[in-house]
């Protein structure tokens, strides 16, 4: 069975959940093989094997992290040439998609982005894609080269399936072109203990109805009671009430969590484009006519300044 290469998303060896989801999906179309770029593989290897990686390709050279995107594309291009995999999977993040963009040109291979599912069709890999912000579902194939597929986080629950996890070192001689854009500094902005927006299983978002920057606190407290990430509508970000990294929507991030709670968000098309693939949608809004209620599995018509604190208190009480 041909390998399916899964690019590992990690921070110094702490593997992100989306990688376990990708390993799980890879099994549908071939033999999962993890590609680990950077340092910290000792911390990551057990987890990768636990979730199905028969092989772990390790490219660990300090300079791989010093440049934007291109070195990872070169590592993957080398593996594609050597292993002729059935597909290459990455997380559909900005970084992941750009890596695939470069890899596509290097290997003359088609790219499918924002996949929400994978299946095999007589040897070909079929990706289910969610386009127009989730309004349309298409099934697509790569017709040239190796299928390169960026998969949305939360597309499938990770399922443990122990595998060998044999480590194979990959040596890479970076080209001059890959070293053209050098990262000279990295700044991590303080965001506390909350999960990352695009990875979180639960997202609680605030919109114009929240009313002020201070009032985002009621949204944050509900999010914290659920272990959720905090999102914001464009109106909130444009007003300067919340940082732009939190923006969900057409000009912001796409989220696809198990549960999305929209607070004081009317649900304009631009916002819906960023969240309508969420599995369960809950809305709290004063305006019964707000379009968000057309999407919501459960809606409360009311003042979020009363509903949210009451819900937060009730959740904390039930958690004991």
């Amino acid at each position: 069975m041909a390998q399916v290469l899964v690019l590992v998303e990690h921070t110094d060896g702490a593997v992100k959940k989306v990688t376990l989801e990708l390993l799980t999906m890879a099994k549908a179309v071939g033999e999962p093989a993890a590609v680990f770029v950077g340092s910290g593989v000792d911390a990551a290897a057990d987890k990768l094997a636990e979730y199905g990686a028969e092989t772990i390709y390790v490219a660990d050279a300090a300079e791989l992290n010093d440049f934007v995107v291109a070195p990872v594309a070169e590592v993957l291009a080398k593996l594609v040439a050597e292993q002729s995999p059935a597909a290459v999977l990455v997380a559909a993040t900005a970084n992941g998609k750009e890596i695939l963009g470069r890899l596509a040109i290097k290997t003359n291979s088609g790219v499918l982005t924002d996949a929400t599912g994978l299946s095999g069709d007589g040897g070909a890999v079929v990706a289910e894609q969610s386009i127009f912000g989730g309004a349309t579902i298409v099934h697509s194939k790569v017709t040239t080269g190796t299928p390169l597929i960026a998969v949305l986080p939360n597309a499938t629950p990770p399922v443990a399936a122990a595998a060998a996890g044999n480590r194979v070192a990959v040596s890479v001689e970076l080209s001059a072109a890959a070293k053209a854009a050098k990262i000279t500094d990295r700044v991590v902005e303080e965001k506390g203990e909350r999960p990352e927006l695009t990875e979180a299983a639960i997202v609680v978002s605030g919109g114009r109805g929240v009313g002020s920057a201070e009032n985002m606190g009621v949204v944050e407290r509900l999010a914290d009671s659920l272990g959720a990430a905090v999102g914001a509508s464009r109106a909130v970000v444009d007003a300067g009430w919340y940082p732009h990294q939190s923006q969900v929507g057409q000009t912001g991030k796409t989220v696809s969590p198990q549960l999305y709670i929209a607070c004081g968000i009317s649900g304009a098309i631009q916002h819906r484009a960023g969240m309508q693939t969420s599995k369960t949608i809950v809305a709290v809004n004063k305006d019964r006519e707000a379009p968000i209620f057309d999407l919501a599995d459960y809606g409360v018509v009311g003042d979020l300044h009363k509903v949210l604190p009451q819900a937060t208190e009730e959740i904390l009480k039930r958690k004991g």
């Binding site: 386009i131 349309t136 298409v138 990262i183 209620f293 018509v301």
Partner: protein
């Protein structure tokens, strides 16, 4: 410095988007606008040439109607435009689009910088700037919200999920910008009048030295098997807050085992 700004005409972001059932490509028959993210790229280019001198050339690939988006960019202050327009381009995927754009960029003499929006609101793949950098063998500085140029040295702030990176390269280079880069200017009346006289160079696939089989639907590296609109979500339960709305909400969350 001479800057090429890649812009795209897209369906109005406030309209529902759908596929044309016959071609399974985006139905562009409704209102079309200049891709919003590209306005930040135009503004960035104008500010750079205002500070350092030089020219701004708008580059767009699209049907005849894309002229409207090009004119808007010119009315904001860009100097000239290149419009890659050919029926053979219809149905191009990202590799095909980046091929045509790369060939067009290579015809623009003495360019120092290519700037694009970090995604189009219609296809949202975000891969074209990276593909363009790969094809042109230029440094790639993407998702930036700050650009500093000093001679031939370029330094940008690249946004990441958890903060930002400072990235350095030398010109020429490919840059993509995020919103929050700047505040795009509105075209003035004078700008709108001046735009009508600015040169727009229309190039065909043959002008670019490309074979029709390498672009458009014929040259696409992916194919759609089937497409369907997501079934509308069945309307759920909506309750009025009677003073216990928060508790009712938690009861619902408990049924989904979220609490």
């Amino acid at each position: 410095m001479n800057i090429v700004v890649c812009v795209k005409q897209v369906p109005d972001t406030w309209a529902e988007k759908k596929l044309d059932p016959a071609s399974q490509t985006l139905d562009r028959s409704g209102d079309n606008i200049l891709n919003e993210m590209d306005e930040f790229a135009i503004e960035a280019a104008l500010q750079l040439t205002e500070a350092h001198g030089g020219t701004v050339t708008v580059l767009s690939m699209g049907p005849a109607s894309a002229t409207d988006a090009i004119r808007k960019a010119l009315s904001m202050g860009a100097d000239s435009a290149v419009h890659v327009q050919d029926d053979a381009l219809a149905g191009s995927d990202a590799p095909g689009t980046s091929l045509a754009l790369a060939k067009a960029v290579q015809r623009i003499e003495g360019f120092d910088l290519v700037i694009a929006g970090c995604e189009s609101s219609d296809s949202r793949t975000s891969v074209v700037p990276a593909m363009l950098a790969e094809r042109l063998e230029l440094p790639q500085l993407t998702f930036v919200n700050k650009i500093d140029v000093d001679g031939s040295a370029l330094q940008v702030r690249r946004m990441t999920d958890d903060g930002y990176q400072v990235v350095a390269a030398s010109l020429p280079a490919v840059v993509s910008v995020v919103e929050k880069m700047n505040e795009p200017r509105y075209p003035s009346f004078k700008g709108i009048m001046a735009a009508k006289k600015k040169p727009v160079d229309v190039l065909s696939v043959a002008d670019l030295g490309l074979d029709a089989g390498s672009i458009g639907s014929a040259g696409a590296w992916t194919a759609v098997a089937d497409a369907a609109n997501r079934p509308p979500r069945s309307a759920g339960t909506v309750v009025e807050d009677d003073g216990n709305g928060g508790i009712a909400l938690v009861d619902f969350l408990a049924t989904g085992k979220f609490v």
